[in-house]
Amino acid sequence: MKSVFSLLPDQASEFARQIDHLYLFISAVSVFFVLLAALLVIVFAVKYRRRPGDKRPEPPHDDSTLEIVAGSGLLVLLMVMFFWGAKLYFQGNQPPKDAMEILVTGKQWMWKLQHPNGKKEINTLHIPVNQAVKLTMTSEDVIHSFYVPAFRVKNDVLPGRYTQVWFQPNKEGTYHLFCAEYCGNEHSRMVGFVQVLSQEGYEKWLLSSGGTAAGAAAATGGGAAQESPVDAGARLFAEYGCATCHHSEAGALGPNLAGTFGAEQMLMDGTSVIADENYLRESILNSQAKIVAGYAPVMPLFQGMISDEEVTQIIAYIKSLSTAGTDG
C-alpha cells in the first residue's frame, strides 16, 4: 500500500485512474478558490485596516451584477464537475457483458464469496488481472457496503435484494477490502483483501484445495464447495420441481425461462418489467406479485421454504439459460 502521504492511493484499475483525474480537477478548483478567498481576506484586512482619524467608509453601491456574473461563472464550472462525474458514475454502473460473476453475501461480520466454478472463500477475494469482475451482492442481516479503495468502487449490500458492483483490475497485488456501512460491533473487522493474480495464478488458485477454500467450506457448512452456482441452481431447479411447469413445450403452466433474464416481461396487469435479479428473486419468493401475461397465478410461494443462497443459485442458473445460447 502506498504511503498515506502520497497524493493518490494505490490505483489498480483504469476506472480508479479516471476517478483520480476528476479528483485532481476538483482539488485544483478548490485549492484555487480557497487560496483566492484567503488572499482577499488577508489583503483587505491589511490594506483597509482601521487607522486613527479614518472617515467612515461609504456604503457599497451594489447592484447584483457581480453576484450574477460570478454565480453564472461558478455554475459553468460546477456543471463540468457534474457531467464529468455523472459520466463516470454511469459507466461504473454498467458492467461489461463478459464480466465474470462472483456472488457476495455479507453477514455480521464477514464477506462470503463464491466463484463461478463454485469455489467459496471468506474475506479474501482472488481474482485474475485484466478480467472484468461483476459482484452480485446481498446481505443476510443488516446493510453492509462493499468497498475496495484501490478500485475506487463501493456499493451498499442490502438484505432482501441484490446490488452490483464491478471492476477490472489492471495491476496484480493485494488490496484492502472494507465494509463501509456501519453494521454493528465488529464492523471494523469486516475487512479483508482482494488479491489480484495473473491469469495463470488464478487458474492455479481455483484448482487448489488450499486452506482458504477448505476453511471457507467448513465455515459455511457447505460440502458442495466445488459445485458451481449454476450447477447448484440446475440441481435445485430439478429438486424443487420447477421444470414441471417451466419448460419449452406447449401447454407449459409457467413461462419458459430460457432467454428470460435481461428481457422485458409483459405482465398480467398490462405493465412490463425488465427481468433482472431482483425481479427473479421476487418471482421465486413471492410468485404472485408480478405474473407474466398469459399465465395463471398457480406457482407456490417459496418464501420461507428456500434459503437466500439457494435463490441466488437458481437465479444464476436462470441467467445461464440466457447467456448460453438462443435456443429455447
Binding site: N286, Q288, A289, L301, Q303
Partner: protein
C-alpha cells in the same frame, strides 16, 4: 402605547389585533408541521401500496367498513359542533359555547371508543403485526406491512384526538369561568383549527385504509 392593557392581552403584544393575528399565524404554522408529520407516513404508505397493491387490497378488505363509516360521520359531526363553539365564542354566548364544547368532547370520545373496539377485533383476528400475526394466503407478509401502517396511522391520529380532547376540556373549564367573549376568543378559534385538521386527517385515512378496491 399608554392605552390600558386588558387582562386578556399578553404583555408582549401592543394590542388585541396583533395578539389575534399572531395566534392565528402560529396555529397555521403548527398545522403545516402537522401536514409534514403525517406526510411522512402517507409517503411510506404510497410507496408500499405501489409495491404491493394486491396485499393492500386484501388487508383493506379485513377492515370493518361500517365502523369506519360511522366514525367518519361522528367526526364530521364533531367538526360541526366545534365550528358552533367558535361561533358561540365570537358572539359571547357562554351557555352555547360550553354546550357545544361538551358535545365535541363527547363525539371525540365516541370516535375513540369505536376505534378501540376495532383494535380489539384486530387482536382477535390475529391481524396485529408481530409474532401472532396470521393471514392466510400468498401475501401474508405484505398484509402485515399494511397493518403496520394501519396501526401507526390510526394510532398517531388517535393520539392527536386524545390531545385535542384534553385541550377541549381545558377550554370548557375556562368557558365556565366566562373567560371568552367577543373581544377574546383566540384559544377557542385556534383549538377549532386544530380539531378540524385532525378530522381532515381522518377524512384522508378512511378511504386510504378502508376503501381500497371496493367498488
Amino acid at each position: 402605547m399608554s392605552d390600558s392593557h386588558p387582562s386578556y392581552l399578553a404583555h408582549q403584544f401592543d394590542d388585541v389585533e396583533q395578539q389575534r393575528q399572531a395566534s392565528t399565524m402560529g396555529i397555521w404554522l403548527f398545522l403545516i408541521t402537522e401536514v409534514m408529520f403525517f406526510g411522512g407516513l402517507f409517503t411510506g404508505y404510497i410507496v408500499y401500496r405501489g409495491m404491493y397493491p394486491e396485499a393492500w387490497k386484501l388487508g383493506s378488505h379485513e377492515l370493518n367498513i361500517l365502523l369506519g363509516a360511522i366514525n367518519t360521520a361522528v367526526l364530521i359531526l364533531s367538526s360541526l359542533t366545534m365550528a358552533l363553539s367558535v361561533h358561540a365564542a365570537q358572539l359571547g354566548e357562554q351557555k352555547k359555547l360550553s354546550r357545544n364544547l361538551l358535545a365535541t368532547i363527547g363525539l371525540g370520545g365516541v370516535f375513540l371508543v369505536i376505534k378501540a373496539f376495532e383494535y380489539k377485533a384486530k387482536f382477535g383476528h390475529h391481524l396485529v403485526p408481530g409474532e401472532h400475526f396470521h393471514f392466510e394466503g400468498p401475501f401474508s407478509n405484505q398484509v402485515q406491512l399494511f397493518y403496520s401502517f394501519y396501526f401507526t396511522m390510526t394510532g398517531m391520529h388517535a393520539i392527536h384526538m386524545v390531545i385535542g380532547i384534553g385541550i377541549l376540556f381545558w377550554l370548557w373549564a375556562q368557558s365556565r369561568k366566562g373567560k371568552f367573549h367577543k373581544d377574546y376568543y383566540n384559544p377557542v378559534e385556534v383549538t377549532g383549527l386544530y380539531w378540524h385538521f385532525v378530522d381532515l386527517v381522518w377524512i384522508f385515512l378512511f378511504p386510504l385504509l378502508y376503501l381500497i378496491g371496493r367498488h
